[in-house]
Amino acid sequence: MSFQPVKFYQTGTYTVGNRLLAADERSVQAGEQRSNSINSGHRACQGCGEALGARYAIDAAMAESNGQLIAVNATGCLEVFSTPYPESSWQVPWIHSVFGNAPAVATGVAAAMKVKGRHDVRVVAQGGDGGTTDIGFGCLSGMFERNDDVLYICYDNEAYMNTGVQRSSATPPAARTATTMPVGPEPGNVFGQGKNVPEIAMAHGIPYVATATVADLRDLEYKVRKAMKIHGARYIQIFVPCPLGWGTASHDTIRIARLAKECGMFPVFEAEHGEVTGVLKIRSKQPIEEYLKPQKRFAHLFGKHAHPEMVARLQAIADRNIRKYGLLDEEAAHV
């Protein structure tokens, strides 16, 4: 059963909180007692989706584990902006090793806790899409395959951002990055490549896989808390817009994430043991242009030298997601 929204209550569960909701109906983020796992003073850009997504996820995991949490971090934006020597923004036990081994380090931490008899301590590993879908992928697959007791969270901003916006295997087709320039007959990133890691994770048959966005906080918290109740390997991919890399206004971060979900480009779902068990339905379907146009990384698809055929191919991808996951009201998932 997927996330159950609160029935009509002015803003229901769309907003972070609401003074009219009972305490147990409120989000972790609405509480004055939230742990602020990643605190003020971090050096993320203005409007960073990843900084926001990380606080949403780790605060929820902290709430669910009663503060008994260890976080392992892959190299990436999140690690760089949160821990420039001599400062750290983290207010949880946190460890960083190298770019590609976060799942393996987390496996080790979980094993150490087991040996020490600390069954109350839970382990989260986290990284960006580069550290997850490319560099750390072998370790991640191994962690899944062994069903280690780790929740791995990937903050997906669709490229290597802190090194200067290079393409990753999570970069969408047609997007401009430093390594997929908008030149030639098919400008930007190529169609037909890249990896769908949530589906690869599902293929491992692990207990829990989910996707979420920073635009749907209540759904995100529900998934993190649900994952924390389960033992074994779990994977959550959170869609986190990057104002710098995507060329969006810093105030548009949540709007862009919302549009990605509403147009079908980023399907929001959850799966247990390889089967889709719930999807967050599209509330008001948007054409793909609404999502693409505010982003400078897709600017070459519009304007004087427009590429409507590429926009149509992106729309086809969104439509396929809608069909496949049953994202519109009447449809059921076909995965």
């Binding site: 002015q10 907003t15 989000s27 983020q29 605190n39 003020s40 923004s89």
Partner: protein
Amino acid sequence: MSNKPFAITLKPGTSLANLTGTWRTARPVYLNRLPPCNNACPAGENIQGWLFHAESGDYEQAWRVLVHDNPLPAVMGRVCYHPCETSCNRGQLDEAVGINSVERFLGDEAIKRGWKFEAPAQASGKKVLVVGAGPSGLSAAYHLARTGHRVEIHEAGPLAGGMMRFGIPKYRLPRDVLDAEVQRILDLGVTLKLNTKVGNIEQSMQQGGFDAAFLAVGAHIGKRTMIPAGDASHIVDAVSVLRSMEGEDKPMLGRKVVVYGGGNTAIDVARTVKRMGGEPIIVYRRTRDKAPAHDFEIEEALQEGVMIKWLSTIKQAGAGEITVEKMELDEKGFPQPTGEFEKLEADSVVLALGQDVDMSLLDGVAGLEIKDGTVQVAPNMMTGRAGIFAGGDMVPSERTVTVGVGHGKKAARNIDAWLRGITYAPEPKHEIATFDKLNPWYYSDADKTVRPMLDIIRRQTSFDEVQGGLDETNALFEARRCLSCGNCFECDNCYGVCPDNAVIKLGPGKGFEFNYDYCKGCGICVAECPCGAIKMVTEDI
């Protein structure tokens, strides 16, 4: 600097040393914008303000905020044409919030529970005469009494209420509701003298030792028009018909009654005739869309079986019949005669062509300006004679109960200031919270609650109230449809969506504060505030 080994261990939360607020070029600030409903309300109600309390089920507090501006919510919830709902931002989302129905619910709840007004803190020692116990006079008396002045109302009629009693039919405003709200005002210590017509205002003021006066005598004289009529024809005016409905002797109009005019009064008369067993026909010279009556009232009249002849004028009235001429609209939209005539059965003709003000009480008062049958007043509602204020239908304005109540309040505030020797200066209005300032994504989908309507047979045969009210559950639902435009309702969005934890939650009822040491000025809080209560302001660099 850390005394831990280099780049191996860092202390938790030490990033607080890095004041990222220095990056900022623009800062978010909380503000209150003026909700369009408040802006549109002729009585100046703080609608968003009282709905806020109704949303949490605190109906008494909601009622108290409401009556801060308007002492007649149960009346208003029935007879107001609710311009607030016309301007409601929710109308652009699905349907306007049923403000009028929640207001009526609160008004009825107050009567049921016996809520009283708070007594004034202290007496001013000043005495004010209010002439006329209609909506405007009652409103002024209420506001003056609450600011500590002694108030005496002189009313020419046998009962209080003015046009609310002698103009608006019972099926729209039951008299027990009106009586309850009038009594609550009198309970504040206001003296009401009935059957007391003021013949000369200066004399009355002098005799009673009044320091100031507020005139609100209304417009009770039905306008006439020249219709060639035989001796046997029966022509009366609408105001007299509606007034006599309140007395023992009901008007004798016969079976076939022609009502001449296209305003709300014409509709009221026709619907009244229908309920008395007559067959009303409204004759109006222009078309439905040009008629001054509100369209929903025309619709309700038609539902009840009132006949309407559009584009017609009465040429002649005789015994048992009248002659009407068909009109057509010219290119400017004015009706022009066609020369085609038609006869209609008519036992009587009721003229509903508007009303005039009886100005006799002002005879001989120096300094007054009377133009087009109304008294001219300054923006502070004072006439040309110092100390005499006027409002309601006797000054130039739209003639509705709500406008009258608004005049009463405005006049009372100015009279209070004048008596204290100061000038009343209302606070400047906030900028309006237009729809583009909102982020409507966050509001739940919720259709407007439809109020129950009396069945058609009872509407044709009795004076029972046509429109029903809300009960507690759907009143709460309806209140919660409010978008709280321009005013924080503590949804926690800004607190949640800040990537830098730079929003401080101050606790229930206290709102939020920005921590400018760390706010980078990204503006997400502004973009994601549902109700437009934050804006970005450029930093001075």
